[in-house]
Amino acid sequence: MEDSVFHRIYDEYHQDVFRFLIYMTKDRALSEDLVHEVYVRVLKSYGSFEGKSSEKTWLFSIARNVAIDHFRKSSVRRRRIDDSYDWDTRQPESAEPTPEEKAVREDELGRVLGMLEHCTDDQRLVVIARFLQELSVAETAEVLGWTQAKVKTTQHRALKALRSLMAVPGEKEAEENGR
């Protein structure tokens, strides 16, 4: 393992990658585990990184894949318990909010993440990449494997959805709690 590679990646991207995973999972302990997995994948494959994309977008692509893998596996695990789980229609989400997650949800970031739960997966991804991570349209397209046109379209729809949610504060949450 190349310590020098680790130190450079850590200096330049560690907090960004960690944030991305927090935004995706809303779970600090889980994000620590997943950022470890990102490092493993990065350090294993760093020698073959060809520089066709920027190092930053390459890292975020790996982080995205790690998060998706996690959601897929956790969904599978839950489905083993709950046979009614519908992979095609259900969105991946944490089963129960952890104390950490509850604390996060109480602040402003929590409010954003709470609203994102009511967006589609694509909308959530584009909001995280474009506004929370502050990636450019081109970088977002590269990380998500989309065209720039799709990024822009999805971003427009995401903002529209968020505006709609902000116009009726608490409505969705109340609806959830009332179930």
């Binding site: 393992m1 944030r19 692509s61 992979w87 494997g145």
Partner: protein
């Protein structure tokens, strides 16, 4: 600027201003955990760790058998995917009812010359999966053969003309094909145990497959024998709602080893990972390990990276990192590699086995497979789009003389 754009701008600014969480751990803690990870502390695998091309070619030379009742025989079938793996079988023509001898010849260096032999007498094997274009003019029928107490699916390609002749133009189902041809497979010539036909009668009742076992059948000798029978039935009769094992009176079969048998649900075993399976004769085929439990084809893909037991070897390098995306709509599963995956680092045979194994695993759920961020596939594979849905593994053709 209209109101909506102003609102979007304000919303974007608010989102950007949201406090950003920080990882409170220090760098040394993060590094210390990485240093303990065994995945980062092993020697880098060599690109050539997988078996050399020449050995792979020999390993791919697997089948050689025939339908006794045909004037031709069962042979390997092969596409153009890896010419250095060319395996050529020739046989003496025969009119006898018994399986004829095959003489095998394999010349990895002179595959083109080998191909010049009489097309009716020679054939080459598929590199693992049978795709629709490989089976034009043939009726595919997958059957679970036996080696080392494991069921290995082999896709027999029966010439359409032969099927038409045998069934008077009617379209036969799996039971019809099994009852007509299973006795005529020269399994041992193909390098398998002599296992078929099943000792009993095979019939269809609605969506169920029913096998009424004959008295004194050999499947009750051990738990392994029962397991092999069940696995072979699953490989042969996938698509049926249930497979029912019954005695001659139509009661559930009662085995000493396992008691009364329960219905088998083949569809519950559809997401099964494929591996490389080395047969007793030293040749290698693709085979699913039915003992591996996966909840969906994505999980099955990940299982394919690790060895499940001594019989089944992974076809996907352990250090390859990829994400499997299941379709919300449509019929295509996407395998997206984290970093460019270069199939040229493997021999053509290994690369073909990996692609075919993954395509077959996805096909268990009726999904085609698309590779993203992969390059240099062996000749014959176009990875620019989804691969066609394979019809089955381990193709063997029956060549008929004109």
């Amino acid at each position: 600027m209209d109101d909506e754009r102003v609102e979007d701008k304000e919303l974007a600014e608010w989102l950007r201003s949201v406090p950003k969480p920080e990882d409170g751990r220090n760098r040394e803690d993060v590094l210390a955990r990485l240093k303990k990870d065994p995945r980062l502390n092993k020697k880098k695998r060599l690109a050539g760790k997988w078996i050399p091309a020449g050995v792979a070619a020999a390993a791919l030379l697997t089948f050689g058998a025939l339908f006794a009742s045909m004037t031709g025989g069962w042979n390997h079938a092969k596409n153009d995917s890896a010419k250095e793996d060319t395996a050529v079988m020739t046989r003496e023509s025969t009119d006898d009812a018994a399986p004829a001898d095959f003489s095998r010849a394999m010349d990895a260096e002179n595959g083109e010359d080998s191909q010049s032999q009489d097309a009716a007498e020679t054939a080459q094997m598929f590199s693992g999966a049978v795709y629709p274009q490989d089976a034009e003019g043939y009726t595919p029928f997958t059957i679970g053969l036996s080696d080392q107490a494991a069921a290995i699916p082999v896709t027999l390609l029966i010439p359409d003309e032969k099927v038409k002749e045998d069934f008077g133009g009617a379209v036969p189902g799996k039971v019809d094909l099994y009852n007509r041809y299973s006795e005529e497979i020269g399994e041992q010539s193909l390098g398998f145990d002599d296992y078929h036909p099943y000792k009993g009668t095979v019939s269809q009742k609605g969506g169920d497959l029913v096998i009424n076992l004959a008295p004194g059948h050999p499947y009750d000798g051990s738990g392994g024998a029962v397991k092999l029978l069940q696995s072979s039935l699953i490989e042969t009769f996938s698509g049926f709602d249930r497979i029912l094992l019954e005695d001659e009176e139509g009661n559930p079969a009662d085995f000493d080893q396992v008691g009364k048998t329960e219905p088998i649900f083949p569809e519950s075993r559809k997401d099964v990972p494929f591996y490389a399976f080395e047969k007793t004769d030293g040749t290698t085929v693709l085979a699913p390990d039915l003992e591996q439990e996966a909840e969906d084809p994505a999980e099955a893909m990940f299982l394919m990276k690790s060895r499940s037991n001594d019989l089944y070897s992974p076809v996907i390098p352990e250090d390859s990192d990829f994400t499997v995306e299941l379709p919300e709509r449509g019929d295509t599963l996407t395998v997206r590699f984290d970093r460019p995956f270069d199939f040229a680092t493997m021999s053509p045979a290994e690369a073909a086995r990996m692609i075919d194994g993954m395509a077959l695993t996805a096909a268990g759920s009726g999904l085609r497979i698309r590779f993203v961020n992969a390059a240099n596939a062996p000749a014959g594979y176009d990875l620019s789009g989804p691969l066609p849905l394979p019809l089955g593994p381990n193709g063997v053709t029956a060549n008929l003389r004109p």
